[in-house]
C-alpha cells in the first residue's frame, strides 16, 4: 500500500493538502494580529489567538538558502542527484523547505511556486526562477 500524506495529516493540515491536490498553495493568517504562518497549527504562534484562517499564498518568494545534494535520495521521492533543496521565504513572510527546479537560482533569487506530482499522494509545492 502506498503511504499517503493524508496518513500524516491532522485536522489542521488536511486543508492544506486538499488545496495542494488542486495545486493551490495556502497558508494560515491570524484574524487577530494578521500574521501569516507556515506550517499550519491550530493557533497563532505570534499572538496565541484561536482566530486562525486560511488564505491563498501568492506563490511568489525568494530563496533564503539552498544546498545542492549529491547524495542519493530515496527513490520514492522522484529526485535525481544532484538536486537542490532550498528554504524559500514566501512573499507573505513564512519560510518553507522545498526543491528548486529548472534554471539555476541563487540566494535572493525571486522564485515562484510550481507542483511536483507524486503517485498516490497530493503534489508538493516546489519553486523555480520567477518569470519577470
Amino acid at each position: 500500500m502506498v503511504e499517503s500524506v493524508f496518513d500524516w495529516a491532522d485536522p489542521t493540515t488536511a486543508h492544506l493538502w486538499e488545496a495542494a491536490s488542486k495545486e493551490q498553495l495556502v497558508i494560515q493568517q491570524c484574524g487577530a494580529c494578521r500574521q501569516y504562518q507556515f506550517y499550519p497549527r491550530p493557533f497563532c504562534l505570534a499572538c496565541d489567538s484561536d482566530d486562525i484562517g486560511w488564505v491563498a499564498a501568492s506563490g511568489q518568494g525568494t530563496v533564503y538558502s539552498q544546498t545542492t545534494v549529491h547524495l542519493k535520495a530515496a527513490p520514492e521521492l522522484g529526485l535525481v542527484t544532484p538536486y537542490v533543496v532550498a528554504v524559500v521565504q514566501l512573499e507573505e513572510g513564512p519560510r518553507l523547505l522545498t526543491n528548486l527546479t529548472g534554471e539555476a537560482c541563487r540566494i535572493g533569487s525571486p522564485v515562484q511556486v510550481s507542483w511536483r506530482s507524486r503517485p498516490g499522494q497530493a503534489p508538493v509545492p516546489v519553486f523555480g526562477l520567477a518569470t519577470p
Binding site: W8, T67, L77
Partner: protein, 384 residues
C-alpha cells in the same frame, strides 16, 4: 535558582572513553559497562555508589534498560533527548539533581556502533508527524543538508569562503595528529578538503564529521565526596541549554541560533568572560558548526569566525585552542559527540592530555549542539 556554597559545588570526578573507532567485539551495552566502570574507578567509586543515571539514544526507557544492565536502581533518571547536545545538558541536569539531594553520584553514559552497523540513523530523525508532510518530500539528508543550508547562508551574509570552512577541518586534523586515539591522523590540506567530493554543497565530504563507533562515561559528585575523589575533580561552574527548532526553515536567522542562549546562560552562571577560557571544545559535526559555535558563544563577532579560524586561532599556538582531541571531524564521531567533548575538556583541565595538552589550562568551555541544529548546551568547567 542558583544553589551555591562550597558543599553544593558539583564536580566531574571521573571520565572514560568507551572503545572507539570500529568496535566488533562489543555491544553498545558492554561498551557502556566498560566506560562506566573505568570512569567510576577514575573517581574512586563503583557502580554500587551510582544513584543518578543519565542516557540518551539507548532505546525505549533507556535509563531503565541501561540501569538493569549495570545493576543500578537509580533514584533519579533522565533521558531528555536533546540530540548530541544532551550529554552537555546532562551536566546541568545532574548538577541540579545533586544539589537538591535527588542523587549523590550521577553517571552519564553513551555508546553507539553506527560505523559497524553501517547506519547513520540514531532513532528519531524525521519521525515526527510534521516532517513527513513538510520536509521529507524534498530529500534533505539530515543533518548535513541542514548544515549545507546554514553554510550557504553564512557565505551569503558574511562572505565566508570554502577555504575558511576547510581551515576548520585542517585545524581539527592537526590536533588529531597529537591524539593517538584519533581515527584520522594523517596530515590534511585545504586543497584536500576542497577536492573531496561534494555532499551537500557547499559542504564537501571532508567538511563533514566521521562516522565511527564509540562512547564514554562521566561521573559527577558533590561537595566533599568530590574533593576526596581519586583524581583531580573538575568543577561544573556554569551550564545552559536551549532548544530552538526541529525544522530548519523555522530558525528565524543565524543570530537566533540555539547556541546563543545556552552559552550566555553558562557564562553568566560561571561568572567568567571569554578571555578566561583556556580551551574550547565545540561540537564539530561539520566545519560550519564550528564557525557558528564561535559566533554563538561570542568568541567572534557575527561573520568573523571564518577569518578567525583561518588566522590559526584554534591551533595549539593560537589564542583559543579548540577541538583539541581532533573532534568529530578527525578523532571520533559515534553519532553523538557531546560526551566525548566533555571528556576531552576534563582531560585538558586535569593536565592529562599528553602531546595535545594546552599548557596551564584551568577554564574550559564545552559547546554541544544537537538534532538538526535544533538544540545547544554549554558548560563552563574549571579546575579546582
Amino acid at each position: 535558582m542558583l544553589i551555591t556554597g562550597p558543599d553544593r559545588e558539583v564536580f566531574i570526578s571521573g571520565v572514560a572513553e568507551a572503545p572507539l573507532g570500529e568496535v566488533r567485539d562489543h555491544s553498545e551495552l558492554s561498551m557502556i559497562a566498560l566506560a562506566a566502570r573505568e570512569a567510576l574507578a577514575d573517581a574512586g567509586l563503583t557502580l554500587r555508589d551510582v544513584d543518578g543515571l543519565f542516557v540518551n539514544y539507548l532505546g525505549e526507557e533507556g535509563t531503565v534498560q541501561v540501569g538493569e544492565y549495570l545493576g543500578i536502581q537509580p533514584s533519579y533518571s533522565d533521558s531528555s533527548d536533546l540530540g548530541g547536545a544532551a550529554f552537555v545538558a546532562f551536566l546541568g541536569h545532574a548538577s541540579a539533581a545533586l544539589q537538591t539531594g535527588r542523587c549523590r553520584v550521577a553517571l552519564i553514559v553513551y555508546a553507539s556502533r553506527q560505523r559497524t552497523r553501517a547506519t547513520r540513523k540514531l532513532n528519531h530523525w524525521n519521525e515526527k508527524a510534521t516532517s513527513p508532510q513538510f520536509e521529507q518530500p524534498y530529500g534533505l539528508p539530515a543533518p548535513m543538508g541542514q548544515f549545507g543550508l546554514l553554510a550557504a547562508r553564512h557565505m551569503y551574509e558574511y562572505g565566508t569562503t570554502p577555504e575558511q570552512l576547510a581551515s576548520v577541518a585542517v585545524t581539527a586534523r592537526q590536533w588529531a595528529g597529537l591524539n593517538p586515539k584519533a581515527w584520522k591522523r594523517d596530515p590534511l590540506t585545504i586543497d584536500d578538503v576542497l577536492e573531496s567530493r561534494l555532499i551537500c554543497a557547499p559542504l564537501h565530504r571532508l567538511d563533514c564529521c566521521l562516522v565511527t563507533d564509540g562512547g564514554g562515561a562521566i561521573v559527577l559528585t558533590i561537595g566533599d565526596r568530590a574533593r576526596d575523589s581519586a583524581n583531580t575533580p573538575i568543577r561544573v561552574a556554569g551550564t545552559g541549554e536551549s532548544a530552538r527548532q526541529w525544522h530548519i526553515p523555522q530558525l528565524p536567522s543565524l543570530e537566533a541560533s540555539p547556541g546563543v542562549a545556552a552559552a550566555r546562560a553558562a557564562l553568566q552562571m560561571a561568572e567568567v568572560g571569554h578571555a578566561d577560557i583556556d580551551v574550547f571544545e565545540p561540537y564539530d559535526a561539520s566545519t560550519i558548526s564550528v564557525l557558528l559555535a564561535l559566533e554563538d558563544v561570542g568568541f567572534c563577532a557575527r561573520g568573523d569566525a571564518g577569518a578567525f579560524v583561518q588566522e590559526g586561532n584554534l591551533t595549539a599556538t593560537g589564542s583559543l585552542p579548540s577541538i583539541t582531541s581532533g573532534g568529530g571531524l578527525s578523532y571520533c564521531h559515534p553519532g553523538a559527540l557531546g560526551i566525548l567533548l566533555v571528556i576531552e575538556a576534563v582531560r585538558q583541565l586535569r593536565g592529562q592530555a599528553g602531546a595535545r595538552q594546552v599548557p596551564g589550562a584551568t577554564v574550559g568551555l564545552v559547546h554541544g549542539i544537537g538534532g538538526l541544529f535544533s538544540t545547544a548546551a554549554t558548560a563552563v568547567l574549571v579546575r579546582g
